[in-house]
């Protein structure tokens, strides 16, 4: 059934007034209702008749000859009335040529794009490796710094843990003697540095003692003999574990030492 809307669309179409949206509606409606298109064709016929309503004017005399000459040059109507099948292969060939050109263009474009992406990827890899190397170098440097710092800290801790004592002379012949004792409780070991310690007879030895409140008697630290120049630097270890080194003492004993101090204490330091 044709509605007023159909009539309106058909009339506007007949006069070439359809707008884009209306043209779409007309096409869909005329597809559903063939009578709408028939109406539009009929109204187009009617509107064409308006051409006859204008004042009639004779065309110029030479126009007919120009038209006939133009038609002759064109070679006649049959030339244009080519069957579609004659044109189709050329159209297909043209379409294929266009498609091939387009594909070639696309291919070239994609190749260029691919090459660009590969270059970018290679650059990114180089940058990544450089960054990785830099990071490794920095990591190694940091590791060394940390190790060094740790060593320093340990040394500081060790030093703080060490007990250092200067031993004073208790005998008349050792007044100029300079003796320093360093004790490491962790290692249960010590170091004695002595200068100007008087030489003694071969039948005698100096003996080291560590005073620990945990024991009734000083702990034996070993014996040593002084050379003629009076310089001695020696490490010593007690023969019993020392919990607290409260003082260090050096006595003059018989050769080889004694388990318990018997001779005079010549040096003492806390």
């Amino acid at each position: 059934m044709i509605t007023e809307r159909h009539e309106e669309l058909a009339a506007l179409r007949a006069l070439g007034l359809l707008e884009d949206a209306e043209r779409s509606v007309f096409e869909s409606e005329s597809a559903r209702h063939p009578e709408v298109r028939a109406l539009a064709d009929s109204l187009a016929e009617t509107s064409a008749a308006l051409a006859l309503a204008v004042p009639q004017v004779e065309p110029p005399a030479g126009l007919k000859d120009r038209i006939l000459a133009g038609a002759g040059a064109a070679g006649g109507g049959q030339v244009i009335a080519f069957p579609l099948l004659k044109v189709a292969p050329w159209a297909v060939a043209a379409a294929l040529a266009l498609a091939a050109t387009w594909l070639a263009t696309q291919n070239l474009s994609l190749r260029n794009e691919n090459a660009t992406l590969q270059s970018e990827r290679q650059l990114a890899e180089v940058a990544y490796k450089m960054a990785q190397n830099q990071l490794s170098e920095r990591s190694l440097l940091a590791e060394n710094m940390i190790t060094d710092l740790g060593n320093r800290l340990r040394r500081a801790e060790d030093l703080s843990r060490l007990k250092i004592s200067a031993l004073a002379s208790l005998a008349g012949n050792t007044k100029e003697a300079q003796v320093i004792a360093v004790w490491d409780p962790g290692q249960q070991a010590g170091l004695l540095t002595m200068e100007k310690l008087p030489a003694i007879a071969d039948t005698q030895d100096y003996q080291i003692w560590i005073v620990d409140p945990a024991y009734k008697d000083p702990v034996n630290g070993g014996v040593f003999h002084v050379a003629a120049d009076g310089k001695v630097s020696l490490a010593f270890k007690p023969d019993q574990p020392v919990a607290q080194a409260a003082a260090f003492a050096i006595s003059l004993e018989k050769k080889g030492g004694v388990p318990k101090a018997e001779g005079p204490i010549v040096l003492l330091g806390k």
Binding site: I2, E4, E7, E8, A11, L12, A14, L15, G16, L17, E19, D41, S42, L43, A44, E45, T46, S47, A48, A49, L50, A51, L52, A53, V54, P55, Q56, V57, E58, P59, P60, L63, K64, R66, I67, L68, G70, A71, G72, A74, G76, G77, Q78, V79, I80, A81
Partner: protein, 198 residues
């Protein structure tokens, strides 16, 4: 909504002759082209001149239309309308395209005041072609005169000026819906009055 009925008339015979000539043109018959020119050149040129108001451009349009018909004669579908309607539509469209290209629409409209009053057919001889033309032109003018003036005005502007719907509404200072309704009613009424084929 009625369908225009018609009995065999001079117009029907002429319409068939147009179709026969076009078929001959499709076969490369230049004498058919010359004959069709004799029958249609005047109304087509007059239409082009009415739209363009320029003799030189009107000649160019008519020449283009006839050559197009010569080349496309084989593709013409007689079921879609008369040869005259096809030719008139081609002429109108080409003329309006030129108007739009020149961008002188407003000037042209001012220069070419609408004039659809009965006009002289010119110095025609009483050939069959000129008789057909006089008959049809008279019928169209009579049908137009039967329309309400506002319908007539809207249709004239739509057909000859190349204005859009909105431009016609603006020119006539009416809502767009009113203009569409006037065009619809006016064209349907013309269809009722005029014979189905020219």
């Amino acid at each position: 909504m009625t369908t225009a009925g018609s009995t065999p008339t001079l117009g029907d015979e002429r319409s068939r002759e147009h179709a026969t000539l076009l078929a001959a043109m499709a076969g490369g018959d230049k004498t058919a082209l010359a004959r069709l020119y004799d029958l249609l050149a005047k109304p087509l040129y007059s239409l082009a001149f009415r739209v363009l108001n320029d003799a030189g451009e009107s000649q160019d349009v008519v020449q283009d239309v006839f050559l197009q018909m010569w080349h496309k004669a084989g593709t013409y579908d007689t079921s879609r309308g008369s040869v005259f309607a096809w030719a008139a539509t081609l002429t109108r469209n080409r003329a309006i395209d030129r108007v739009r290209m020149r961008k002188r629409r407003a000037e042209l409209l001012a220069e070419s005041a609408p004039d659809l009053q009965p006009a002289s057919v010119g110095n025609d001889t009483d050939s069959a072609g000129s008789l057909w033309l006089r008959e049809k032109a008279g019928a169209v003018r009579t049908a137009l005169a039967a329309l309400a003036p506002d319908q007539q005005k809207a249709i004239e502007l739509a057909f000859f000026s190349g204005l859009t719907q909105q431009e016609i509404a603006a020119r006539l200072n009416e809502p767009l819906g009113t203009i569409k309704a006037r065009i619809r009613r006016g064209l349907l009424k013309l269809r009722e009055i005029l014979p189905a084929r020219l």
